[in-house]
């Protein structure tokens, strides 16, 4: 969890292991619209200690379920304008299938289980909490 921009290149370097032939990453950014409404930015809040614990569990699960060498993830908190990176997930593996699949798995699990909440700031000045992804 980070309350300021993260050096993604440093995270990526951690994945560049000699035995890793594939590196896959996902970058989630603040989009300019949601559900047809113009967005100026999103304020991300989190339950920090639990978010870290859950994130570590997800990364450990991914390492157990997929043939990967390393995985890392970071999620921003605070107000992010359109275009800012909110979440970054990176995976390295010997082969591409495991890297792609684990990256998708970690991304989906973070969205569903890590206690982070989006408060969208609309262009008209109104704000609103995003309803759940899944129930």
């Amino acid at each position: 969890m980070a309350d300021a921009p993260v050096d993604i290149s440093a995270l990526r370097r951690m994945l560049l292991l000699p035995e890793a032939g594939g590196v896959c990453s996902f970058e989630g950014r603040v989009r300019q619209t949601n559900e047809g409404r113009a967005i100026s930015g999103i304020d991300y809040s989190a339950f920090g200690p639990l978010a870290l614990t859950e994130g570590q569990v997800i990364l450990m699960d991914a390492k157990q379920h997929f043939a990967i060498r390393h995985a890392t993830a970071t999620h921003r908190t605070g107000y992010l304008p359109v275009g800012e990176t909110a979440v970054w997930i990176g995976v390295s593996a010997a082969h591409r299938d495991a890297a792609f699949n684990a990256c998708r798995y970690i991304t989906d699990e973070i969205r569903q289980h890590v206690p982070v909440w989006k408060n969208e700031h609309y262009a008209n000045g109104v704000t609103g909490w995003v309803p759940c992804h899944t129930l």
Binding site: S45, F47, L50, I110, H113, V114, P115, W117, P131
Partner: protein, 80 residues
């Protein structure tokens, strides 16, 4: 009576008008405590769509509360 430290997030924080409080309660479980809080603050979220964290770890809603516990009701995650 138990003294419980409560932390509110997202829409629950808006509805309660606060992020933290220490509350005296006769509730014995997280379920009973959330019922009490719904009466106090009019929370719209149903417990069925949330999880509860006791002392910063997910716990069953029926877990017994103890003096000084930190309780946070966790609205559905929307990060990523």
């Amino acid at each position: 009576m138990l003294n419980i430290e409560l932390q509110y997030f997202a829409q629950l924080q808006d509805e309660a008008g606060r992020a933290h409080e220490i509350r005296q309660t006769q509730a014995l479980t997280a379920t009973a405590l959330y019922d009490e809080l719904r009466n106090a603050y009019g929370f719209a979220l149903e417990p069925a769509c949330m999880r509860v964290a006791i002392n910063a770890a997910f716990a069953p809603w029926e877990q017994s509360l103890a003096e000084g516990d930190h309780v946070a009701c966790i609205p559905p995650a929307t990060g990523g």
